[in-house]
């Protein structure tokens, strides 16, 4: 990351990047021969701007907060901008992850037609710029404008293939839930301002709500942002919208956009409302644990790769919420150091998830582009056709499975360490509840590992399951192109950097925590060198991924050299052993549904299953299973029916005759005259 030129403050830089993104998006519209600008220049330039943004964000973490007022917007209502450590951290996340995804997108969208490409480039860069503005906003007005721009631009990106009805309905569902969330956020700002009419964040911070008002604002913010984050029970849009969008857009949405909701939660709850209460933490923990387990259990029974990844986003949002909830619990009970640890764990997982989920969605995109397959049951043996993609996908899969020494492990380790601070709590019930939430996290982590063994084993390993997919379609079957590889390699490197240098990142996040709540980690934790990660004190817990990795590599190498050196290295190649049954075919391998079968068996009551079993004498037996989310039938459909019922009753008022409408106006006037007089 190039250091920004001197005399250029991070805030000005970040604003410049946002404007640059807008300009790039507009420049793509210029109809130069076959959308030359959008095809060749827009995305690489967007990626460079992302790198610059990451640099400015990193700088801002270490600097005091800076403000800026832009005379834009409505006449009396200028835009207020502010950058502090929290905003700096999220800008770093946005810039660094967007850089990888955007350079990938440069390769991915190359074959689009000119008109579509120009439009995608515009929506894509407006989407990026709006996310930067959400993070930079310092008043409710700009925040909501940016928030809505983000929702709309991503809606258009989701419905890129709007000719398919399934994609249109997925987009509608997304828009609907996004607006329910936005409504709650708007109400939350209203509650905080208390009718004063001043919506700058400074005014909201100074409002000093009483406990009922603060709790109301908390609930509105939690559910409003939760709808965007994909938290239970507002997650329904995620598994629909992510598969519908083109893969780089899925990566952006899952990697970054749902993180802006985490940003909003932290900003509003810790910074604007302030005075965190432990009861809030309990609610966040309960919903977080439910979201985590629900997400991973539903992911395990999916066979559409992108849907599966979307359910994992739900799970990971749950893990972030677990960290946030513990942090609120500890802060509410007056343990700022443990609270800071929880916040750091949550934010660490936020950036980790952005990196590895971005990487996994890009990998899924390459599979889709190259083989046209999205259903795991059709895949198999892709490692031979696309070794590069297989390699990067493996890193992402190991990282999300929370395996050391990659990054997913670090944040789960920190979350566990937070839970292990439970003996600090004086409240007996809470003290024994917190480890239970750690248990749910442990269960989810192990289930994730199972799920990604399934994904990787079925997609990349083994043999192609279906004869008709064994040879790629004409023009397909190739590995990722150079630009796509750079994008994936960048994010894969992120998995390693975040996994191997946790000490450095924890110091950064400690700055964020101090600037938000005033509380940070104990001094002993921060004094340790970059090699070590020490959350509280060295004798309590420590972890050194660099040493860990070197020992494991050394042991593996030593074993390799010893075996190689001492024994002859002859290898004979033959067919795999057929267990004495020569009719073995590649259709006998486990499919994705088969791999998830034990989970369906163990957690059966959780799912709504429709199974089709072939009869014994069926000459062409096909087995199919459809699994649906119970939330649809218990929550969404009743509400939809209620809405239809209410609107049908309201519809009675609409007679379609002008005289009747005039009568309504007349009656209203009479009523007003009666009351106003």
């Amino acid at each position: 990351m190039a250091p920004p030129p001197p005399g250029f403050s991070p805030l000005a830089g970040a604003v410049a990047v946002a404007i640059a993104w807008l300009a790039i998006g507009l420049a793509g519209l210029i109809p130069a021969g076959n959308a030359l600008i959008a095809r060749r220049l827009a995305f690489p330039a967007g990626a460079l701007a992302g790198l610059a943004l990451a640099g400015f964000g990193l700088q801002a973490i270490w600097l005091p907060a800076a403000r800026l007022v832009l005379p834009l917007g409505l006449p009396d209502l200028p835009f207020h901008l502010r950058i502090d450590a929290l905003a700096g951290f999220f800008l770093t996340l946005l810039g660094a992850v967007a850089a990888g995804i955007t350079i990938y997108a440069a390769g991915y969208f190359r074959k689009e037609t000119a008109g579509r490409l120009a439009l995608i480039a515009l929506q894509y860069h407006v989407f990026l710029a709006s996310m930067a503005c959400v993070i930079l906003a310092d008043d409710a007005y700009l925040f909501m404008v940016a928030w809505e721009t983000m929702a709309l631009s991503s809606y258009f990106l989701v419905t890129t293939d709007h000719r398919l009805p399934a994609i249109r309905s997925a987009g509608f569902l997304y828009l609907l839930i996004a607006h329910l969330g936005a409504l709650a956020i708007l109400l939350c700002f209203g509650v905080m301002s208390g009718g004063e009419g001043d919506y700058t964040f400074d005014a909201l911070r100074a409002a000093g709500l009483g406990p009922p008002g603060a709790t109301l604002a908390f609930l509105l913010a939690f559910f409003g942002f939760g709808a965007k984050a994909g938290m239970l029970p507002l997650h329904a849009w995620l598994p629909e919208a992510h598969p519908a969008a083109p893969s780089p857009v899925s990566a952006l949405m899952s990697g970054i956009m749902i993180k802006t909701a985490i940003y909003g939660m932290v900003r509003v709850i810790y910074d604007l409302i302030g005075g965190v209460r432990w009861e809030w933490g309990l609610l966040v923990l309960a919903i977080g644990a439910a979201t985590t387990l629900f997400g991973v259990l539903y992911a395990l029974v999916q066979h559409d790769l992108k849907r599966l990844l979307a359910y994992h986003s739900v799970e990971n949002i749950g893990i972030i919420l677990l960290g946030l909830g513990m942090s609120m619990l500890f802060m509410g009970f007056g343990h700022p150091a443990a609270g800071a640890l929880g916040l750091i764990a949550a934010l660490y997982h936020t950036i980790n998830h952005a990196v590895f989920k971005g990487l996994l969605f890009l990998g899924a995109g390459t599979i889709l582009h190259s083989s046209g397959l999205r259903d795991l049951n059709d895949m198999g043996g892709l490692i031979r056709r696309m070794p590069n993609t297989a390699f990067y996908f493996l890193i992402g899969a190991l990282a999300i499975s929370a395996l050391p020494p990659l990054n997913g492990f670090v944040s789960e380790w920190l979350t566990f360490q937070t839970a292990l601070q439970a003996p600090l709590l004086e409240h007996g019930v809470m003290r024994s509840l917190v480890p239970l939430f750690a248990a749910s996290l442990a269960l989810a982590a192990a289930l994730t590992a199972m799920c990604f063994v399934k994904v990787y084993g079925i997609a990349f390993l083994g043999q192609p399951r279906e004869a008709r997919h064994a040879t790629p379609a004409p023009g397909g079957g190739h590995d990722a192109g150079a630009l796509e590889r750079i994008g994936m390699a960048w994010l894969a490197a992120g998995c390693f950097v975040l996994g191997l240098l946790p000490g450095t990142f924890v110091q950064m996040l400690d700055r964020v925590s101090v600037s938000l709540s005033g509380g940070g980690l104990p001094a002993e934790a921060l004094e340790s060198s970059w090699l070590w990660l020490v959350p509280t004190a060295a004798e309590q817990a420590s972890y050194s991924p660099v040493i860990f990795l070197s020992v494991i590599v050394a042991a593996t190498l030593l074993a390799f050299l010893l075996v190689r050196g001492l024994y002859h290295g002859r290898v004979r190649y033959s067919d795999p052993w057929d267990c004495g049954y020569p009719e073995r075919s590649s259709r006998m391998q486990d499919t994705a549904d088969a791999f998830g079968q034990p989970i369906r068996h163990v957690f059966g009551p959780l799912y709504l299953m429709k199974r089709h079993l072939p009869a014994a004498d069926d000459p062409a037996p096909r087995y199919s299973i459809k699994i649906e989310d119970r939330h649809w039938y218990l929550l969404y459909l009743p509400i939809a029916r209620l809405a239809e019922f209410v609107s049908s009753k309201v519809g009675l008022l609409q007679r379609g005759r002008i005289s009747i409408y005039l009568l309504y106006s007349f009656l209203t006037l009479i009523a007003l005259l009666v009351f106003v007089r």
Binding site: G381, F416, R431, A442, A445, Q540, Y543, V571, A594, V602
Partner: protein, 316 residues
């Protein structure tokens, strides 16, 4: 802490574990044979098997990917690392702070994921079957193991295996009821994670029941030797974790050469008893149907969680 003697101790312990692990396997097999009224094989049989496998030509499926070839070495490296974390002979070793109990569980998970992936690599039905069953067992055994270790961590206020062992070794003979629960849970996890009866049977190749053996069906010669060796080290590591948590007396400190003979003798006695106990359990129990395995492990998980709650109840 990082004295030369400490490092020498660390290396000594790591080499000791790698060399001694097959002996424990041989001892358990011998005990099982005695208990089942068979004439026992030599205690050194695992070494002979390893030597035989290392000298053979490897046969590999044509479609094997690099992942398949790499996995035996990764498994061996992971288990070796695990053996370096556990205080087998001495506490306060220089490598210990680099990884705590959560990382230890992570290493086992890493090995499990690689083993399962390698099993699915060739594309035989048995490989996938074994991988699926192994992950099914793993997803419940892993959290149960973590909760067991957390109970010990709450007692000693640390997730460093070192500090835990030191706290537990230097206590007066207090009985922690929470540790009793954790102990039972740990035993159940140990049986499941090391492919022992009642979850899996290490000496069968019957397709209806095998789990671990189904995964390594395609390995031969030196690759199989490494896998088998890694299995032996894993069992050794689990047994020594059990010893460290529930019977840590007699362990020496890093760099204290005088305490070494006593520590070695204590370890030998404890492992001999534990191995005989394991053989007894395996002889007395029958293998569970596969779908009873989740119930078995879920009870282990709940026992571990109960142990943790009891710790808070008794203390508070």
């Amino acid at each position: 802490m990082h004295s030369l003697a400490g490092i020498a101790f660390q290396i000594l312990q790591s080499v000791f574990v790698v060399l001694a692990a097959p002996l424990l396997t041989g001892w358990i097999n011998q005990c099982r044979a005695w208990l089942q009224n068979r004439s026992a094989p030599s205690i050194l049989l695992p070494y002979y098997t390893l030597a035989k496998l290392l000298h053979k030509d490897a046969v590999m499926a044509r479609d094997a990917s690099p992942l398949f070839r790499l996995t035996p070495y990764v498994l061996f490296g992971c288990m070796w690392l695990a053996a370096g974390i556990v205080p087998v002979l001495a506490t306060d070793l220089p490598f210990a702070p680099a990884a705590d109990i959560i990382a230890l569980v992570g290493v086992f998970a890493l090995a499990r994921v690689f083993a399962a992936l390698a099993a699915m690599d060739i594309g035989t039905p048995f490989g996938g079957l074994g991988a699926r069953r192994e992950m099914l067992i793993g997803f419940l055994a892993e959290p149960a193991m973590l909760m067991t270790l957390f109970t010990a961590a709450f007692i000693s206020g640390s997730t460093q295996l070192n500090s835990i062992v030191e706290t537990l070794a230097h206590r007066d003979l207090v009985i922690y009821p929470s540790l009793a629960f954790a102990g039972v849970a740990f035993l159940m996890v140990l049986l499941a994670e090391n492919a022992r009866i009642p979850i899996d049977n290490p000496s069968t190749h019957l397709e209806l029941t095998m789990v671990h053996e189904a995964m390594i069906l395609e390995y031969s010669a030196r690759h199989l030797a490494l896998v088998e060796w890694a299995v032996a080290i894993k069992l050794f590591a689990y047994m020594t974790i059990g010893v460290a948590l529930f019977a840590p007396w007699g362990i020496t400190e890093g760099g204290d050469w005088g305490g070494l003979p006593l520590a070695l003798a204590a370890l030998a006695v404890k492992l001999a008893l534990a191995g005989a106990g394991l053989a007894l359990i395996e002889t007395l129990l029958a293998k569970l149907r596969l779908f009873l395995a989740p119930e078995f492990l879920a009870s282990a998980f709940l026992l571990a969680v109960l142990g943790m709650l009891i710790h808070f109840l008794v203390r508070g």
